[in-house]
């Protein structure tokens, strides 16, 4: 194994650990809705929510970085240039995440001054990490880019997938710089902030996961490079074609000109179409291989990615993307429902697929199967779908009672929060959240033990 693949294992392990923190923080956030007195005076709801969302971003990012460090040396046929720097930065990255989490939990918030911005919280949703840590993320990404570009230069070899990856690294890093400005005009601030949030998620991350899934399909199903790269180009073109200007659906109500209603609505309404193409591709791959593979969990998580992306991004997104509906739905649990489903389908399932693939290679397993991964797969997916359904019901109640009938007044907000449908939706969400957490435990147990108990059983049967 290459050193970068050892590093990949560390990144993927850290990703799974942070997935657990995200799940725990999510459960706590869900419980606050049922019992608002929970941890009153000790830990505020907003901090739990920050932990939930920021760990989501970080575990997926670590999953992507880990997957790329795993595949790249095989792609280039050599160790990555400057891997020593990446190894050091992994520990710096983990330590920074831990310090930021402790500051969030213990200090929580500071005054509205430069000190708080640098050391406690930047105050920008989803990128709350204080400025020193945000600079650290940029350094990690720059070293990551150096590993990729430096190795490509050293080998003088660029494949279609690595070319797409290298081009994607430019906006991936540049857009993150958008996390830094502290613009006092709210509309202007939101305008640029969405460049980071939307274009990372619906453009650069889509391309990253596209590259990762291209390598996964090649290794898992033995699909030829030419086919995979052809489809990667098409996918990237379609996703970027609809996703970049789909940014406009975040500009509907932040004080931008009216033309964003048309641009945002039009391009984001087209977003389900490339996702439909992915579903058909998944069916083709599954069918031509007669659902046979040496790594069933990796294969099923890959399938879950295609379907989850279509349902979460396509179906759930289309419900709320046209401005006339979005006027009432934005910022309600309806959008939270879409966010959960889309992130799960588009990214989490893909990262889990890669992790099972890596486990198979590391442990030298001929086949990966068994019962436990099926339990975790079922519990995680049923738990997620249950949460999404419950959030949708709560969101309907909010949009109906608070927005459409109540006209978004403070009184209407309270009426929405107290509405029976809203409250029951929140309780149901917590119940399915617990199922999801059980699925996470089963997943971790399976990843730790898969392939390790089989030799013992085989040895025992040989003794008999």
């Amino acid at each position: 194994m290459y050193r970068s693949q050892h590093l990949a294992l560390k990144y993927l392990t850290a990703a799974i650990a942070l997935f657990g923190v995200m799940t725990l923080a999510g459960l706590m956030a869900a419980y606050y809705y049922i019992n608002p007195d929970f941890l009153f005076g000790l830990l505020h709801f907003n901090i739990t929510k920050i932990l939930h969302i920021d760990t989501l971003v970080i575990w997926l990012l670590m999953g992507f970085i880990g997957a790329i460090y795993w595949f790249l040396p095989e792609e280039f046929g050599r160790e990555l240039v400057g891997i020593w720097a990446a190894e050091i930065l992994f520990y710096v990255f983990c330590a920074a995440v831990a310090v930021v989490a402790v500051v969030f939990i213990v200090v929580q918030y500071g005054s509205s001054d430069e000190t708080a911005l640098w050391f406690i919280n930047q105050g920008r949703k989803y990128v709350e990490a204080p400025r020193w840590a945000a600079i650290g993320v940029v350094v990690v990404m720059l070293v990551f880019a150096f590993n990729v570009l430096g190795t490509a230069y050293a080998t003088r070899r660029i494949t279609g997938i690595t070319a797409v990856l290298m081009i994607d690294l430019v906006p991936l890093i540049l857009l993150y710089l958008d996390a830094f400005p502290a613009i006092t005009n709210m509309s202007e601030d939101q305008f640029w902030w969405w460049w980071l949030v939307h274009l990372w998620v619906e453009a650069t991350w889509e391309v990253l996961i596209g590259c990762i899934m291209a390598w996964t399909v090649m290794q898992l199903l033995g699909t030829s490079r030419r086919i995979v790269e052809t489809w990667l180009y098409i996918e990237v073109a379609l996703v970027l074609g609809t996703g970049i200007l789909g940014l406009g659906h975040h500009y509907f109500w932040i004080g931008t000109p009216n033309y964003w209603l048309t641009i945002g609505g039009f391009f984001s309404a087209l977003e389900p179409l490339p996702l439909l193409r992915m579903v058909i591709h998944a069916i083709y791959d599954a069918g031509t291989h007669h659902m046979k593979t040496t790594n069933r969990p990796a294969f099923y998580w890959m399938m879950a990615e295609a379907f989850g992306n279509f349902l979460g991004g396509g179906v759930w997104g289309f419900m709320i993307t046209l401005p006339q509906v979005n006027l009432y739905a934005h910022g309600t649990q309806w959008t939270v429902s879409h966010g959960h489903f889309a992130f799960w389908g588009a990214y989490a399932c893909g990262v889990l697929s890669v992790i099972y693939l890596v486990v198979q290679k590391v442990r030298g397993l001929g086949h990966v199967n068994g019962a436990l991964w099926k339990w975790s797969f079922a519990a995680l997916n049923i738990g997620l779908i249950g949460m999404v359904g419950a959030l949708l019901v709560s969101g309907f109640a909010q949009a109906f009672v608070e927005r459409a009938i109540g006209g978004s007044t403070h009184e209407a907000f309270i009426a929405g929060q107290e509405n029976r449908w809203f409250v029951e939706g929140m309780v149901t969400r917590l119940i399915f959240g617990l199922l999801f957490a059980a699925g996470y435990v089963a997943l971790v147990w399976n990843l730790v033990t898969v392939g390790r108990r089989v030799p013992v059983l085989t040895a025992a049967s040989e003794v008999k």
Binding site: S224, R226, I227, T230, W231, T262, G265, F266, A269, L270, P272, L273, L276, R277, V279, I280, H281, I283, Y284, G287, T288, F310, L311, G314, V315, W316, F318, M319, I320, L322, Q324, V325, L327, Y328, A329, W334, F396, A399, F400, V401, R403, A404, I405
Partner: protein, 98 residues
């Protein structure tokens, strides 16, 4: 938009994409299995998708432009599965021969 028409419109839009996707899914399975009954079922799903599109056009307060987009999207939903399937088959067959 009234509260009720908001929920109706949101649900119809979701159902519209879900049925378009179901058509694509069953279309692909039908071609994989060579089963004509599934092929017929895929077009029934597309017909249902079309009915939902009509319901959106006739029964929701969306502006004309968005209703036009729904019509155009329905044409794309119809075309994407066969085009994708054909392209997938051709690229795989070409690769196998090469």
């Amino acid at each position: 938009m009234s509260g009720l028409s908001l929920l109706e419109t949101g649900l119809l839009l979701g159902l519209y994409v879900a049925l378009g996707g179901s058509y694509g899914l069953v279309y692909a399975i039908a071609h994989l299995k060579g089963a004509s009954i599934l092929h017929g079922m895929s077009f029934i799903l597309y017909a249902l998708h079309g009915l939902v599109a009509i319901a959106i056009i006739v029964g929701t307060p969306l502006q004309v432009g968005w209703k036009g987009l729904v019509v155009v999207s329905s044409a794309a939903f119809l075309a994407i599965p066969p085009i994708t399937w054909r392209f997938l088959r051709v690229t795989h067959e070409t690769e196998a021969q090469g």
